[in-house]
Each structure stands twice: as C-alpha cells, then as structure tokens.
Assembly symmetry: D2
Homo-oligomer: 427 residues x 4
Amino acid sequence: MKLVEQLTDWRRDFHRFPEQGFLEMRTASIVASILYDLGFHLKMGKEVMNVDECMGKPDLKITSEHAKWAKENGADEKFLPFFTEGYTGIVATLDTQLPGPTIAFRFDMDALPIKESDSSEHLPTQLGFRSIAEGTMHACGHDAHTAIGLGLATLLAGNKEQLTGVFKLIFQPAEEGTRGAKAMARAGVADGIDYFIASHIGTGVPQHHFVAANNGFLATSKLNITFKGTAAHAGSEPEKGKNALLAAATAALNMHAICRHSGGDSRINVGELHAGSGRNVVANHASLIAETRGETSEINDYMKEQAHNIVAGAALMYGVEYSIDTVGEAISCKCSEALANKLATIAEQHPFIEHVVPISDNNAGSEDATYFLEAVQQQGGQATYCIFGTDLAAGHHHECFDINENTLLPAVEILFAAAKDIAKHDE
Amino acid sequence: MKLVEQLTDWRRDFHRFPEQGFLEMRTASIVASILYDLGFHLKMGKEVMNVDECMGKPDLKITSEHAKWAKENGADEKFLPFFTEGYTGIVATLDTQLPGPTIAFRFDMDALPIKESDSSEHLPTQLGFRSIAEGTMHACGHDAHTAIGLGLATLLAGNKEQLTGVFKLIFQPAEEGTRGAKAMARAGVADGIDYFIASHIGTGVPQHHFVAANNGFLATSKLNITFKGTAAHAGSEPEKGKNALLAAATAALNMHAICRHSGGDSRINVGELHAGSGRNVVANHASLIAETRGETSEINDYMKEQAHNIVAGAALMYGVEYSIDTVGEAISCKCSEALANKLATIAEQHPFIEHVVPISDNNAGSEDATYFLEAVQQQGGQATYCIFGTDLAAGHHHECFDINENTLLPAVEILFAAAKDIAKHDE
Amino acid sequence: MKLVEQLTDWRRDFHRFPEQGFLEMRTASIVASILYDLGFHLKMGKEVMNVDECMGKPDLKITSEHAKWAKENGADEKFLPFFTEGYTGIVATLDTQLPGPTIAFRFDMDALPIKESDSSEHLPTQLGFRSIAEGTMHACGHDAHTAIGLGLATLLAGNKEQLTGVFKLIFQPAEEGTRGAKAMARAGVADGIDYFIASHIGTGVPQHHFVAANNGFLATSKLNITFKGTAAHAGSEPEKGKNALLAAATAALNMHAICRHSGGDSRINVGELHAGSGRNVVANHASLIAETRGETSEINDYMKEQAHNIVAGAALMYGVEYSIDTVGEAISCKCSEALANKLATIAEQHPFIEHVVPISDNNAGSEDATYFLEAVQQQGGQATYCIFGTDLAAGHHHECFDINENTLLPAVEILFAAAKDIAKHDE
Amino acid sequence: MKLVEQLTDWRRDFHRFPEQGFLEMRTASIVASILYDLGFHLKMGKEVMNVDECMGKPDLKITSEHAKWAKENGADEKFLPFFTEGYTGIVATLDTQLPGPTIAFRFDMDALPIKESDSSEHLPTQLGFRSIAEGTMHACGHDAHTAIGLGLATLLAGNKEQLTGVFKLIFQPAEEGTRGAKAMARAGVADGIDYFIASHIGTGVPQHHFVAANNGFLATSKLNITFKGTAAHAGSEPEKGKNALLAAATAALNMHAICRHSGGDSRINVGELHAGSGRNVVANHASLIAETRGETSEINDYMKEQAHNIVAGAALMYGVEYSIDTVGEAISCKCSEALANKLATIAEQHPFIEHVVPISDNNAGSEDATYFLEAVQQQGGQATYCIFGTDLAAGHHHECFDINENTLLPAVEILFAAAKDIAKHDE
C-alpha cells in the first residue's frame, strides 16, 4: 500500500476506535506492533511512565472494563498486555549505529469525552468511520498525530541507511487535560535527547501553512476540589449542619476574584460546581471542577497557590473538610530559536507549504509537551513545537471536528526531512 | 375480614406499591373503588383540583409512563381513567340527610423518592411488602394515612344510621414538597366545611400518645431557580462568556445572608447547586434547589421576596437570564382551640391512649394541610391538625422508616368517635 | 430639699455632664461623695472591677484627657482620684447589723456618643440642662437611674432603724455596649447577695405601668475585627498585595450567612466596614464593627464561634492577618419568678402604678445586668430585672430622648418598699 | 538669570506651593503671567476646558477657599481671576507667522494629597522648599514639568526668528486621577495640531536615559460608587433595614471576580470601602472608591461595563439605591512611530543623553495625555509621549520623592531642538 493511503487508513481506524486518556490500549497495542515490525526497539508502560505522576488516571474498574473493550475491538493481542493497566506510553528507538545526535518526536494518542456528530454532513459518518465508542471522539486530531507518527516511523525504517544518529518516537497518552506528559518526562524519557520536535495539526492554522515554533502555551493546573460537611434537616435543626454548598460557592466566587498578575496573562475557571442532595437538607458535599492558567509557570503557580488558600479558607469558614487533587498540569515553555529556524527552512522547501511562520506567540491554550521541551532544553538540547495547518470542518473539541487528510503525507515528509537534515548538520 | 386486619392489608398494599406526588394513580383508583362500594359520593381529578395551582407536577412523559405502570400493577381499571393525567385528588361525601354540620377529614397518599432498605432487619422486607418500585418508598407514613382514611370510611358507612350531618373524606396527592393541598383548597374543596381534621402518624410522638393540635408548622416555599448564561472557552476567550455558575454561587451565598426577621423563626436553604459542563468552559447554566420557611406566612413571604430580589440581582450582575419556579408552598396556621380541646377529650377516653397533649407548639416542619385549615377557619369553621404517636423503626424519610401497625385501629376509632361526637354536639 | 426636688436636680446635673463608658469619673465621684456622707461603706475602682474583663475600655490618652475634663467640670475632688484610671464602678454597703438577707440594687451611669438635639422643643435645651459635652448625651435614661440610686440610698440611710439585713447599691459603668457588668461580676461583686434587683426606665413601657421581670434580653457579643494585609500598586503590581478589603467583604457577607439556629432567635450585624486608603492601592487594612445576639447564651456562643471561623477563613483566603476583640458582652437570663411576683405585688400597692406586668418576654435588646442575675441565681439567690414605665419624648438613643421626671420618686419608693419588705419576709 | 538657575527656581517655587487638581490657581496665574510677558497669546479657563467633562472636580466650597489661599500665597494678582473657579488650564500660542506645522507640547501642573516628608534627609526640607501646604505635595514631578514648560517657552520666544510654523504650550490641570485632559481635548484644544509631544520625568527611567515613545499606558476609569439603604435596629427589627454594607461587600467581591479578558491586560481595584454608622444599626450607606484599567480602551470599557452591571445587581439584591460617578478617565494610545523615531534621533545628539529607547511598551500606569494623542492622530497628526530619565530619591507618590534637577535643562533643550527640527523638516 502506498504511504499516503496507509496514513488515511491508520487515521480512520484510530478515529473509529477512539480511546480516552490512559485508556489508549487498543491504539497503543497497534502502534507497538507496527513499530516492532518496522524494527524499532520498544519501551512501554511503566518503563516509560512514572506511576506517581499520572494525573487524573481513571480508576481500576474503568481501566479493566476498557481493557476488555480493547480486546473485543481489535487490539493487537501480543502487545495489549503491556497496556491493560492503563500505562499506555511507548518510546520507540531506531539506532543507526552511526555517530550523530539523538532526535525525538512526540505524538499524542488520546481522544475526548465528546459524542461525535451523526449528521450525514459529517464526513466520518458519511464514510463510515464515525466513532463506535458512543461518547468518545477524536475531536482534536490525535488520530492524525498517531498516524503521522507511524508514517514517520515507516520512512525512518525504510531509509535507515541514509541516516545517522539515533531517532526516538514518543507516543504519549492523555494529552487532553494535560495529564500524561509529565509522567513520561519524570520517567526520564527525555534523557539524552539532543533535538525534540512536538507537533500538532490544525489549531486554526490554515491549510498549506506551517508554524515552526509555537510559544503561546499557557501553563495550567487542573484541579478537582471537594468539600465534605455534615447534613442536617434545614427546617428543624439547620445549625447542626456544616454547609459544604456555601463553602463551595464562596470558594468559587473568591477564586474568580484572585488578583490579576502584572507579569502576564492569567486565567481561572471553576467550570463545574455540584453540591447537595436535597432541597431540605443542609448540603454535606460539594465538588468543584476548576483550572488555573498562566502565561508563565510562575504565574500559574501563583494562581494555584491563591486557589489553595481560598479553598482552605472557605473550608475553615464553614467547618468542613476539603481536598484538592491536581488531575492535570502543564508548564509554559519557549521553543529553541535555532531549531525553529532550521525547521522553518526545511518546511519552506516542501511544495505543499505556501506560508511559514518561524515563531508564533499566539495564545493557543495549554499543552503538556512543554515538559519534554523543558527537560530537553535543561540538558542543553533544542526543542520546538510546530503546527501543520489544515482545513477544519469545525473547531477543535466540536462534535463535527474533522481535518483535511491531505495534510497527513506532507506532515510526515517534513518531519522526515527534518530528521535527516538535523542529524546530518549537527555538530 | 375484621377491620384491624383490613387496615393492615390496605397499608401493606399501598406500601408495596408506593407512588410519588401527582402520580398516585393506582392508590387513588383503589381508594375510589372502595369508597364507591361503601356508598360515598365521589368527586375526582380536575373536579377537585385547580390545575393552575398544582405545583411541581411531573411532566407529561413521566405522567403517562406512570399511568402504564399503574395499570400493570393492580390499579382499579374502572377508576384509573379518572387519574391518568395526574390529578389524583378525591373528595368522598357521605350525606346522612339528617340535619348537622359538615365534618371533613384529610388523608395524604404520596410516597417519597427514597430507595427502601433491603436489609432483612427491615420488617417490610422481612414480611414481603417492601416497595416494588425501586427508588420510591412510603417513608413518611402516608400509606398508613390512606388506610386509616379507608377505615374511617368503613365505620362511617357501616354506622350511617347513628350519624347526623355530612361527612367528607379528602384524599390529597403530593403532600411531600407541599405541592398538592393548595390546588384542592383553591378548587373550593373546603367550601361549606364546618369542622376539619387533618392527621399524621408518628413525627416523634411516642406510641400511646396523642396530640390534638399541632401549631408549629412553618410556612414554606419550595423554589427551583435556574440561570442561563453563555458558554465560552475559559482559556482563549473567557470574556465572551456569561457565567451562570458565579451568578448561582453569589445568589446562594446572599440568599443565606437574608436578614433574620424579628417577627419569628425563618429559614433558608439552598439544598442543591448544579452548574457547568466542563472544566475549561465558562458555565452557561446553573440550577438551585431551594426553600424558604417562616414561623408565619408573612415571614415566609418576606424570605421569598428577598430571595427573588437576590436571584434577579445575581442575574443582572453576570448578564444571565433567570427563572424562579415555585414548586411547592405551604402557609402557617393556628389550630382552633375549641376543636382541639374537644378532640383531646375524645382521645383521652380511648383505652389505647395514655397521654394527650391538647396543643403543641413544637416546630414540626411544614405541611400544606394548612391551606384547608385556613380556608375552613376563614369561613367561620373550626380546624385542627392532630398526631397519632407511634413507634418508629427509624426517623421519617429514612430508608428504614416503619410504623407500629397497632396504631392503625385506635386512630380510626378516635377519628370515628370525633365524627360522631362533633356532629351530635354541634349547635 | 425635698427628695422629689433633689431627684430632679441630680438627674439634670448628670444629664448636663454626661460621660461615656469607663469615663464616668465626675458622675462616680459625686455619687461616692453623697453615699459616703449618707454613711455607706464604699468599695471603688479596681476593688470592684476585674481589670482583665473591662471590655472596650478607652485607651490611656482618652482616659487621662477625660480625667482633666472631669476635674474642670465639677467632679468631687476628694473622690475623683479613685476613678481617674477609668475603673468607675462603686459598691456601697449599708449594714443594719441586724440579721437579715443581703439585698442589692444595680444602677448604671454611662451616656452615649450621640449629639443632643439643640432644638428649642427639646426640654433639656429649653430648661438649660442640655449636654455641655458636645457629642455625648444621656439618651437612654442612665442619668435618671443614677438619681434613683441616690434617692434609694437616701431613704435607706434615713430609715436605717426600720431595716434589717444588708443593702448594697451597685453603681455600674459602661452598660452601653454591654461592657461593664462582667468586670464587676467577675470581681466578686455579687458574692453573698441573696436578692438582686436591676431596673430600667422607659423602654417603651407606658407611664404608670410597671414590669416586675423582663426576660427578653438577648445574649450578645460586640466584636471589633481587623484585617491587616499588604499594600501594592493596583495598576503596576497588584499581585504583590494582600487584599484586606476583600477579606473583610467576604467575611461580612459570610457572617450574615451564618445558619439560623432552631433553638431560638439569633442576630448578626456587621454595622460598619472601613477599608483601604486609596483608589489605586490594594487595601492593606480593614475593620469590621460587628455584633452577634442569641435568645440564649448558647445561641450567642454559636453565632460568635461561627463568626470567628469565618473571619479566620477569610484571612486565610487572602493571606492577611486578623484580630478579633470582644469589646462588649452580655448573657441571657431568666428572672426569678418568686422575686418577680413579690415585686409585682409591692408595686401594685403604689398609688402611681396603674398596671403591673409580672413577667414579660418581650425582646428588649441586650443588657449586661444579666451577669449579676446569673451570679446571684447560681449561688442560690433570687434576681430580677424590672422596668418603670415613663413617657418618652423620643425613643431611646434618639437625639431628642427625654423622660417624664414624675417617674423618679415613685421608682425610688417602690424600690425602697421592696428593700424593706423583702428583708422583713425573708426566711 | 541663566536658564539653568531659572528652571531650578521655578521648580522649587512650585514645589513649595503645591496645588491639587483643578486648584492649580497660584501655579496657573504665575505660568500665565510669565507666558504673557514672553509674548505668547493666551487662552485660559473655560475657553480651553469643557466644563461638563471636568471629572472629580472639588466642590464650590473647597474651590473658593483655595482661591483665598492662592491669593495669600503669592498668586499673580492679574491672572488669578481667570482661574478662581477651578478651570485652571492654559493654552499658550506662539505664531511665527511663517509657514509651517503646528507643534504642541503638554505639561501638567497638579500635586498629590500626600504629606511631604519632614526628614532632614529629604532635600526639599534641607534646602527649605518643602511644601507649605501640609498634606499636599509635588510627589510626581509635575513641578518640574511646569518649569520645563516655562523653560521651553523661554527658548521658543527667545529664538522666534529661527523658527517657522506655530507652537502651542498646553498647561493641563488634574492629571492625577486622570481627570483634566479629557476636558481640554473635548474643548477642541487639539484642533489643528500637527505634532504633539507630552513628556514626563522619572517613572523609573535612569538619569541620562531617554524614552522617545511610551506605549504602555493602560486605559482607566476612576469610579466613585455609593449605595443608599435604610437603617434599622439590628437587634429589634433588622428586617426593616436595607443593608447598604452587604450590597457594597458583594459588589466589591464580584467586581474583583470580573472575568479576565483575552485581549490583554485588565485591572480592577476597589481601593476603599466605607459603610455604616454603628454596630447595632443595619448600615444605610456605603461607598466604594474603585478603578478599572485595560491594555486597550476596549478592555477598559469592558471592565467598566461589568462593574456597572455588578453594582446595579448588588443594589437590586439588597433593595438599595446606587450611584456611579466617573471621577477620572484615560484611554490607551499608541505613539506615532515616525515622530518617535525623529525624537529619538534628536535626543541621541544631546550630550546629556547616554541611552535612547525609541519605543517602550512597559506598562507605566495610566495617563490622560492619551486624549490629546488620540485627538491629534485622528485628525492626521503625529503624537508621542516621551520620558526624561532622572535619579529619584524615592518612588513616585512617595513622601520622599525628589528628582535630580540636572535633568531640567537637557529636557528643555531636547524639546526645543525637537520643536525646531520638526518645524523645519515637515512637509
């Protein structure tokens, strides 16, 4: 099969069988199988993930139920066992045995808790690769990322004799909610990497455009907060209660009132509040689903610290207990200028690309690939985060999201050209 | 069958097939059938309920699904059609055709949204009359009330020749949440009644004790409040959002800060708050489940008015829309002293009763029978609310709630004695 | 001079030279001098006041400045030195040396921080005894109370040979703000007292009426709360600030949201909030002037404890320091029924009295005489708080407040009759 | 006298007699007198100020009292009458009668409500030119600005024959609180101006440094907010009150919770809150001193609109009235790049200047000169805001603030060089 067709097949297969963060068992098993067959050396699961740093990982029950689902839905039987506990990361290495730098690429694999559109206007529905897992959808292009990663692996393996140095492909779980990268970075996955390239498709960049470095990611923390109080009958003895609902309400309000930071952009959002269990009962439990962000990691740390104080203060006010779980986190990061410029030059030479932006500062949400960028830069390496523009049927995280598959092959070819070129000119 | 056994049979049947407010179709059809056979004249459904005053009535879908359930679970086929729209009230009249006053008794029929205990310690489970409607339970004794009402009907009909005047038995839906009485009172059900007696079993009064008048009911309003805002991505353009969660949080907080009233007890409780649909989305909807109470109707009105202002102000603050639905309401009321004393004297003569409290001011939650009391008193009649003490296996609204069935027959006999005596001595 | 004229003279003199709590130096020195001349044994100042329990006492500067004022405005030079530190309480004892009970009466002496009306309609202005201390006014009748106390002393001393037992007259400072009684009670002033009568004039009770026991006093705590944060420029580096204003605002709001108590009436009021020192500066200080009340001392304790938690929580939220000073406090109390009835009987016999209420439960604000009542009752004595009705020109604490001086002599005579009668019939 | 000495004399005289916004009567009268003597054509007072746009102007009493002060403290008697109503702006024009552009310079004249340090370390104290107006101080360098303006006038008038075109010197009142510029701009003062240069001394820029264009000013609105409620006794009938304190507290809290704006920096500060008049009184009045800011005028408008909604909502919540007065306002603005570069080039040639920053984006608070910049640019002109670095004894608005007077002459010379050069090269 020609690579261009293979890419589409892979992407549609992953699209049809989407898996959420730390549950990418079918996906990972297939990825591992293909990479193994291509001759890559594999490290998988807990070998490449620090189990203490996996944030917001589903519980055992969900995990084991999904393992059954994966088995029933086409997972590779040989590799599935490596991933059934939910540690679904893979690091695949191709060592040319020739002197040269270590160059790494990161691809994320997870889908979102979104019900995919069943409109006949929606291409995946029309062409029969709409999600079979109702309520889960690849609405951010990670299906394409995984396919691009396999495409790059195919070119690297097929042209090994032209290459020098070492190539690593990092397949990361749970980028959504910024939950998975930290666990891989803290497991030492970035050790020894000289050049690191993460990439994303879409994000508003038009078809035929390329951004060689995106600096605008906000550091972020995803916080699950609970308050536990005491129930009481609201009519006959309300004073016996400890009101978790009011603690949550005052926490939410005061969290939004956290002072702005003169150092740059900050964000706070209590996206959900659920409290209480009856009209005439003093609410004995409440939960907040919240997030902070900062233009720099310092600003996000400031926001997070203030949020902690506010939650603790609200609990003290109402005599209730509280807990704060960090279920996702990402830092901010600046791309390496030299690598960005190199990548820009390479992309300019590809016939598909009409416009190249070497460095963009556009705020583009948050990304936990920043943990890899930081780790690589801290050990003296270079790192960047690039974007392949593509036509979008609807915005990211929308039920009608879809990419233009014509972008897949050029993306693979540009990454392969970068791999070759960087290895050759490193000194 | 002896009445004492019949009472138990009725009560256990209603217990096994509990129905929530405005859904008492099976119950009402059986009650109607029995009363009809005893020779009572019946008015049912919309004849005795003002459709505009039915608060918190389930929607059409729930109502019609339940009608099917009732049919499949033993409803009386002849009378079921009168109740399938959810107007489940009944007024049964026995006219002796002899001069005398009109004396009315009220019984409520609805169950609660509580899952009944399946512990083998729980008598209904042990004896096989545990609720078959999972999640619905007679946990407040209205099954007993309905049985007592039928018992009283039996005695009245069987001793018609000894009686003078007119007797009315009011079977009311949806007392829980104080939703059903107002609709019956506003339909004129209390017109022409000279004496009115509502009764309850339990409520903390011990077995063998009797309270002839309970004055401590708080006026109350049950409010469902919603805020509707605008969603926006909390990271990339939060200012486009209209935050319904913060409107709800500030409303909840300020509602609890409503100023105390020097006229007497007041209460406010926001029992539930649910808002938002995702961590990184500005919440576009929020709902509050709340209630106000007051020692007098004036105080409750004050609380309700303040709550309205606060909700409107919170909506204005955040540029969101709001709605406030009153899904239940009760007023306060004072029992008629003369009738209470008469009833106390009658009860004292019953061998089962060891202790009588003529008038109690204990705060005992809220009750919408107060609408009947007020209506009767306003037209010059006398009214009271009495309590038959009983052993409780667990408190009201508890999953293990159960009464001592030995209380049933004495309750019927006391009410019958009252009917006879009041009719005779009225002048 | 006849007693009736003397009473008016005294009252008008005290009215003209009003002194606020813990500053009643001129008043106390004159009171002491008169009592001394009448033959009473005196204990004064720190002898009868626990210095650690003087709440809300003015600072040294205000105290010493007022001492100068007192000296310049007619204080008794011999006794003034006993009071210049602001411990202005007096306990005067008349021991008949004959067997009998110890009977005590309490009179309060302090004025209010109110500017007296200078309208010519206002009798004190018209007759030339308007306050010369601008901004301080006897607007609650304590000038009359002090005069009545001296009148009672005159009758007791003048009729010593008819009396048995021991009589104590307690002249208390700082009743306003409920600040002074606790310090005297905690100094042991109530030790050995068998019968205790506190009294007040006015309070809405009509002329010629008498209330022998007032039970409706709410327990109360007067709280001064401060928050201390960190200032910062609100434009250039707001995140450096610790916002005391927001801590105070959220504390005030949540304090008013303290849950109502099913045990009885409660109150909370943040009467004043002052914060910040400039528009563009993050506020680094804030203060709240607040009070809690409760129908019982337990309820007030509950309110106070919640308020503490809320203040501590608000401080934690914003990283600011806080302090809470209790600058006034009173408990609730029930009058002794037997003593009340005795007093009622005595009052009924006085020709001036047309109507007697033995026991009233009307809520009448707060009073710290309750500390004496409680102490006396705890050691087995009887105690009551009575009210002499009088015409009022305007309500208490109003700038036009004035009493009907015709009430003075009957008040003295009733208290004297009680003293005589109780001593005689005690067994 | 040599200009360098004259500059110091002027600056010290203004420093010694500081006047706050809209009260610069002495200052303006002296400025007018000097400009008149130099041959400038003058427009003054209401001729150059839109009376409806004077924000935060002191009331009549303060204004007329200050007029007396000015007269007694050395105001120029001929010109003082033009300013005694508090419209203290001046536009002085020098028309060379030769073709050429109109070039304008703005200088602000007002002082701050700060008590100047009386430490002997503080140079103005040491040298005898400390403020004689206790509580008012030139702590932001506007005394120097006024002196520089007079110095520039001296050079322009003295070298008129070398010049072409028209020169305008704008002396503006009430820059502090951003209150005065809008009134002058709205009076048409900017009409016909081709080039406009505002300048400031200090602001953290080091001695010998020069910033040719400062873009970092935040748009701002200064808001005085009041709530008017109803007082009530907090113990006896609190429900009769309408609580202005709680309305203010909830407004303050929710204003700080206004959502961040993705378009750039925003700020909100409630710097002061004062409410209530007694511990046991439901507060019937409250006031907030607040400000909003935005990186763009649109963002500030957004903040201001949200603040309005919140205040209105808080008032609705508590049934109180509210008012919002805008007592100061400034917009954001971008300097004209061409003019900035021209000015940079000119400054580089001055021997005193060691370092030139052509364009700075540093956030530097707010400035209402932006109204002039915008007006000039909108009619096709160029405008910039430059900064003369200087040593500071302490930061702006500090009681020990002082500049290095060596900066005065170079500042005058650079502005004069710019005037000459721009006029010459305009086409």
